[in-house]
């Protein structure tokens, strides 16, 4: 088991390195294929009103004249040991981990990005807890009472849930519960450490909106998994032993039905941690999603590169955790 985890960890590091190569390639190699000159490329990193000397300085700084592997090396090196950007009065030090320096905002990418993480983290994890409880609960009951009114009703709602976009349900929720009946007025992010009660209260609407989408999906998945599992031979064996139906369902049935959901949950959560774009946008929560949207709107390449790497990091870590949890849950995976 330990060696399994270590191997997975090494694989995860390799994966991140490959992702960094791809990201690097997209920003430094693809434009050249598209006909971009070294000068033009460097201009994008200089900021507003680029002067010729600043651009030449940037070419030197990013090593755009050097071979690609040296450029990539400089990029990696900055992440580990930091780097200096700009010249003269504009010179700035970007401490490690330096994921680049945003010349448009005149600040290193990393601190700006990190300050947005708590928002996304609060949003994603809170929503995940809600959708797991609601989705799995509804899925199990629906499977066990297949064809009942509850089943039909909840599956119809679930279909609506997976079909309705967040910018629709979110706006409806805001309109109803923030404006018409101001139960949750003035939705904005308050750090947990500052005021936990207000933190939770202000996040209720985004949580529920985001969770609604996923709960619907998970309810359908759980229902399908449970229906399949309850028809398995080992469930019949469990009944033949004389186990109470409760034990048969929750110990033997749910255990097997939920295992595939671990994988999906890991992927979903990993993706969300990289930014819940629609939810953050709808509720004006300044997390990684809004950070990304703004970076794209400003064509702030260093910021985009940084947030892509961070999102990839979350997905890779989530996958690593999924692999380990899966190995614990399903003994057939261990080797």
């Amino acid at each position: 088991m330990i060696s399994f985890i270590i191997r997975r960890l090494i694989a995860a590091v390799f994966l991140l390195i490959i992702v960094s190569m791809v990201v690097f390639g997209i920003f430094f190699i693809l434009p050249r294929w598209g006909g971009q000159t070294t000068y033009g490329l460097a201009t994008e990193y200089v900021g507003r009103n680029p002067t010729r000397s600043a651009v030449l300085q940037m070419i030197d700084q990013l090593g755009l004249n050097k071979p690609l592997y040296l450029q990539y090396w400089a990029y990696l090196k900055a992440i580990v040991v930091g780097g200096h950007y700009g010249t003269g009065v504009n010179s700035a030090y970007c401490p490690p981990p330096c994921f680049g320096y945003s010349f448009k905002n005149q600040q290193p990418v990393w601190p700006a990005m990190v300050s947005d993480i708590p928002v996304t983290l609060s949003l994603a994890i809170g929503a995940a807890i809600i959708w797991l409880i609601a989705g799995i609960g509804i899925g199990v009951v629906s499977a066990l009472k297949r064809g009942s009114i509850f089943d039909r009703f909840s599956m119809t709602i679930a279909l609506a849930g997976v079909s309705l976009p967040i910018f629709f349900t979110g706006l409806i929720a805001l309109e109803l519960f923030s404006y018409k009946w101001p139960i949750f007025p003035n939705v904005q992010f308050v750090p947990f450490t500052e005021n936990p009660a207000l933190w939770a209260r202000n996040l209720v609407l985004p949580w529920v909106t985001l969770a609604f989408l996923y709960a619907a999906l998970y309810a359908r998945l759980t229902r399908a998994g449970m229906l399949e599992t309850m028809g398995e031979d080992y469930i019949r064996t469990a009944r033949a032993k004389g186990l109470p139906e409760r034990t048969v369902i929750f110990k033997h049935g749910l255990r097997a039905a939920l295992t595939p959901i671990i994988t999906i949950f890991g992927m979903d959560l990993g993706l969300l941690l990289g930014g819940a774009l629609l939810t953050e946008y709808t509720f004006s929560l300044h997390g990684l999603g809004l950070f990304t949207i703004e970076a794209v709107q400003n064509q702030d390449f260093p910021e985009i590169m940084g947030v892509v790497m961070l999102a990839a990091f979350f997905v890779v870590i989530a996958n690593l955790v999924v692999d380990i949890v899966y190995a614990v849950a399903d003994p057939r995976v261990r080797y």
């Binding site: 031979d233 080992y234 064996t237 032993k241 139906e245 057939r332």
Partner: protein, 348 residues
Amino acid sequence: MAPLLEVQDLRIHFPTDDGLVKSVDGVTFSVERGSTLGIVGESGSGKSVTSLGIMGLHQGTSARITGEIKLDGEELVGADPDRVRELRGGKMAMIFQDPLSALHPYFKIGDQITEAYRIHQPGATKKQARQRAIDLLGRVGISRPSVQVDSYPHQFSGGMRQRVMIAMALSNDPELLIADEPTTALDVTVQAQILDLIRDLQSEFGSAVIIITHDLGVVAELADDILVMYAGRVAEYGTALDIFGQPSHPYTWGLLASMPRIDRARTTRLVPIPGTPPSLIQVPSGCPFHPRCRYASQTGGRSQSEVPPLREVTPGHLSACHLTAAQRTEFWAELSAGKVREDTREPA
């Protein structure tokens, strides 16, 4: 003393959108303590449905069960489900056809056995249950049981998993053990081992056994009594000696003639039963076997119109066939001599 298990006019019907599926339609038999009953028939003859019915495993499905199932004098049809659950895995236990899928893939085999033990022995400690599991695994021929008890099912071969299933079934010294095609999914060499194991354990534990199979070779080896089922009904019922010595139903003849035998000349052709088992929604009129029976035309049309009652051939040997005793003797003599009567059925 009354038999351990008495089944009287058991009917198990499943309403479906296409009609009523009469999986079991009026089956009567009994099993004495310590004896073995073989239930034989093709797929869809109602063998497995009958055994699941005895175990009360149709609970929660749409099955409609009527008739009587008496275990040790206790009526199980319509009994409190909790009471049947207590008996299940305790007084009566079951082994299933496919040991590959019958064990839960996520739990250690030892835990699966102790779970079966502890649910019926509430006083037993974890340690006692574990020791019991190790003992049982040793009894069913698993090597190094104190180590293997912590293995997972996927680490075992099919034969070993079936041994585990048997150990699990025997964990509470059941008085009745139902084995539903216990060897079908296994290699031929392993089949013989498993059958030997069942026989040995039966004499050791003194359980009555119902062995369900489509393989007459299996019942020839194990069974004291044999029940031949066709389309959810009893075709023939008697001792193993009756069934193999004086089979009195064309369906039994078909089963016997389609089985290779070492005591017959190699030139003797194997005779398959023509056709396929009937739909259980629209069971053929009269004798359900008549569309496939080579002798149906010998009954003066009664096969098509009248359901043959189960009649005694000799005391304790019952057969549901319209043929007269003389006809049966004659036809079976012909067939066992290797002569196949021309198909005299009227063209369908």
